[in-house]
């Protein structure tokens, strides 16, 4: 079905189901219980999960398939955001033109940067992309202020022309991004016992976009083109010996992955029409690398998992503070409580980045294949226990070529 293999189709259907039922699945704890703070089923966070998932999936097309480690991918996200906001300012608050234009702008931008950066490989490529991204960030922050809004960021205002749409609503407010009338911030809440589930239009819109993009990714992974990209990763010199010029393939992957990033940027402003230069900072680029690695580079579902885990942990862990910890460990003897709180405290709240860095190091050291590899190891372990050694465990390890 849909031109997918059976296993891919199964994966895709699982992802679709997760997307549709996310508002339920991410809200497992009743609102009244103490665990409600672990709920993730509110629109802001769900949209964030989707958008970063999209960003990471796109990044994975480049890094996972070709092995080129770009350290400047956030630049494309930033460019996409700016392009999206400009469409809102000039044309209409409908999100469709904004998304199209942000994707295309990011694509052109990626073509330009990729054309130059891909002349080099390895660490040189990483540093070139880093240099370009930092350059974009500095420019957006300083000289390009008329286009980018500089330090305050690019915002909508009441005086924007919006040729097709309206400059201001009847009540005199800035209009909200909408999809042919369906406003992105509209939401329905259904109360069910102690639970309340929020269904946001913005989330489902983003989810549809993500579903389409993810489908394209699967097709790309399984296509001859995807195979060619893997060849670039595993042995580039052998490819050139056989008379193939690998650069156009790598460039195509770079542009496609830049367009995914641009689309993610466009979605970001569709949910919240504000674009700032800090989205292009190299730490933002580092974050998407983290997501991809944490989930498992080169796998289909890995980047989605990684993005989900990081975005979820970020919003949950950063809300925990010392009082919450005392509450948690309150049942323990005082000395144990205080010791535990002292140990854990640096990792929560503002220390969220410390957790992120530590988790990331542990993953790179012990689990270079990320969550997906962990899942495989666990699956293999259980299979072996059931005495089915060798039946299914023969799946080859996907290690990056050196």
């Amino acid at each position: 079905m849909l031109g997918l293999k059976k296993s891919d189709l199964r994966l895709y259907l699982i992802v679709l189901a997760l997307l549709i039922f996310a508002p339920f699945l991410l809200n497992p704890f009743p609102d009244t219980s103490g665990l409600a703070q672990f709920n993730a089923g509110y629109p802001d966070l769900m949209q964030k999960l989707i958008i970063f998932g999209l960003f990471a999936v796109g990044f994975n097309i480049l890094f996972g398939l070709t092995g080129y480690l770009s350290f400047g991918h956030a630049a494309f996200l930033g460019v996409g955001s700016y392009a999206g906001v400009w469409m809102f300012k000039l044309l209409t608050m409908n999100v469709v033109p904004a998304l199209i234009v942000s994707t295309l702008t990011a694509g052109v931008f990626a073509l330009l940067i990729g054309f130059i950066s891909l002349r080099r490989s390895g660490i040189y490529f990483s540093i070139l992309t880093l240099a370009f991204a930092q350059m974009s960030y500095s420019l957006a922050y300083s000289v390009l202020t008329p286009i980018t809004g500089g330090e305050t960021g690019l915002q909508l205002s009441l005086d924007d022309p919006r040729i097709i749409g309206i400059s201001r609503t009847e009540s005199g407010n800035i209009p909200v991004p909408h999809f042919f009338g369906l406003e992105m911030n509209s939401a329905t809440t259904i109360d069910f016992g102690a639970w309340s589930f929020t269904f946001s239009a913005g989330y489902y819109f983003a989810a549809v976009i993500f579903a389409v993009a993810f489908f394209l990714t699967i097709r790309l992974f399984r296509s001859p083109f995807g195979l060619m990209l893997r060849a670039v990763k595993s042995n580039q010199s052998r490819m050139s010996y056989t008379g193939l010029n690998s650069r156009p393939y790598a460039l195509a992957a770079f542009v496609i992955s830049g367009m995914y990033a641009g689309l993610a940027g466009g979605l970001m402003v569709a949910m919240d029409p504000l674009a700032g230069a800090e989205r292009m900072l190299w730490t933002a680029s580092g974050e998407v690398v983290l997501m991809t690695i944490l989930g498992g580079a080169g796998t289909l579902i890995g980047p989605v998992l990684g993005a989900g885990v990081i975005a979820y942990l970020e919003s949950i862990i950063s809300t925990i503070n010392e009082n919450v910890l005392h509450q948690w460990f309150g049942g323990l003897p005082d000395w144990a409580e205080n010791t535990l709180v002292t140990v854990v405290e640096p990792f929560v709240g503002e220390g969220w980045h410390l957790t992120l860095g530590a988790v990331f190091m542990l993953v790179v050291i012990f689990l270079p294949g990320g969550i997906v590899q962990a899942g495989r190891l666990i699956a293999r372990f259980f299979r072996r226990n059931r005495g089915e050694v060798g039946a299914l465990s023969g799946e080859p390890e996907r290690r990056p070529g050196e």
């Binding site: 080099r120 990483s126 980045h353 410390l354 860095g357 990331f360 790179v364």
Partner: protein, 345 residues
């Protein structure tokens, strides 16, 4: 003419910092073949050694019988704490010691940074020699995040002013020395000190590599690790020492930079990105290249910050280093002084 000299001088201190960090990066890369994204964090740690030293030296107690005015059970404006060093050595000597906190920190920074360097190499990086460069980048990137977050946790997110000794406050009138009008070329003393310090350290590292047997073996190991190993030399042990040396160089660069830029937890990252660009421009694995490119880019950046230049090409001061890096990489892929066969899979 005055303007040009002034810009060259202004570029020197930043260039010195770039050169010192890039030198360490190149040492690590040339010997161990590891791309160390945590090198900026070492620079930052050095700066915080200075901050810590300053705090330790000013650590004091309130002398007995000198508690502040108390009214209604609350005490207002407690009496000035007397730092222990002033108590021990008398106000004069003690005050001088506190005043010279930054230079004194150098002495502390050397063993501390050496320890951190060895711990980093033995504890983490040696497991990554056989892994792809991407993994090395990623794990050291993670380490850099961890280190800077730890510092942030203990020292807060705000920059901590760490002044230079009083002797070096003020500026040196270069114009008069060179025969221009007075007050045309003013240069802060501490920056002069920094440049001199960088020159000494760089000279020291080169002399160590050039004129000692140890350095000779290390150079041989950089050129052909396998052959040196076949000669019965445990090259890995020496490379660990080089890693510690690189950490010390970065740490000292950080200590001395504190009076120029109040240290904050992310200063390492800020310098790291530029230092990488410096290494690439200079040529991966080339020590003279790293140093030359460090000063070159520092001076170039300071020229690009001139008002005349900014008026001509807006924004050039922000991007000049990256622009140069892009041009160099595209025209001379190995960098200015790069060796053949380094990082070319």
């Amino acid at each position: 003419m005055e303007a040009i000299i002034l810009q060259i001088l202004n570029g020197l201190d930043k260039g010195s910092a770039y050169a010192l960090i890039a030198l360490g990066l190149t040492l690590i890369f040339g010997t161990l073949g590891v791309v160390n994204f945590a090198h900026g964090a070492l620079f930052m740690l050095g700066a915080f050694v200075a901050v810590t030293m300053q705090r330790v030296l000013t650590l004091g107690f309130v002398p007995e019988g000198a508690t502040g005015t108390s009214a209604g059970g609350f005490s207002f404006g407690t009496a000035r704490e007397t730092p222990y060093v002033e108590h021990w050595f008398g106000p004069e000597v003690g005050g001088t010691i506190i005043d010279w906190a930054v230079p004194i920190s150098i002495l502390v920074a050397i063993p501390v940074m050496a320890l951190i360097g060895v711990a980093m190499e033995r504890g983490l990086i040696r497991f990554f020699y056989k892994r792809p460069h991407a993994d090395q980048i990623l794990v050291t990137f993670g380490l850099a995040i961890v280190l800077q977050e730890i510092i942030k946790h203990y020292y807060g997110a705000n920059p901590i002013p760490t002044p230079a000794p009083d002797v070096f406050v003020g500026s040196f009138d270069f114009g008069q020395v060179l025969g221009f009008d007075p007050y045309t070329i003013m240069y802060p003393y501490w920056r002069l000190v920094y440049f001199g310090f960088a020159a000494v350290v760089i000279g020291g590292v080169f002399a160590f590599l050039q004129f000692t047997t140890f350095g000779m073996v290390v150079r041989a190991g950089m050129a052909d690790r396998e052959t040196v190993g076949l000669l019965g030399i445990d090259i890995d042990k020496r490379f660990v020492v080089m890693f510690a040396l690189a950490a010390i160089v970065a740490g000292m660069a950080g200590v001395m930079y504190t009076p120029i830029l109040s240290p904050n937890y992310h200063m390492g990252m800020d310098f790291l990105v530029l230092s990488f660009v410096v290494v690439v421009v200079g040529g991966m694995g080339s020590l003279p290249g790293a140093v030359a490119a460090g000063f070159l880019l520092g001076i170039l950046q300071s020229f690009a910050s001139m008002t005349e230049v900014i008026e001509l090409i807006p924004g050039i001061n922000q991007v000049v280093i990256y622009l140069v890096a892009i041009i160099v990489l595209l025209t001379r892929p190995r960098g200015l002084m790069g060796r053949k066969g380094v990082m070319e899979e």
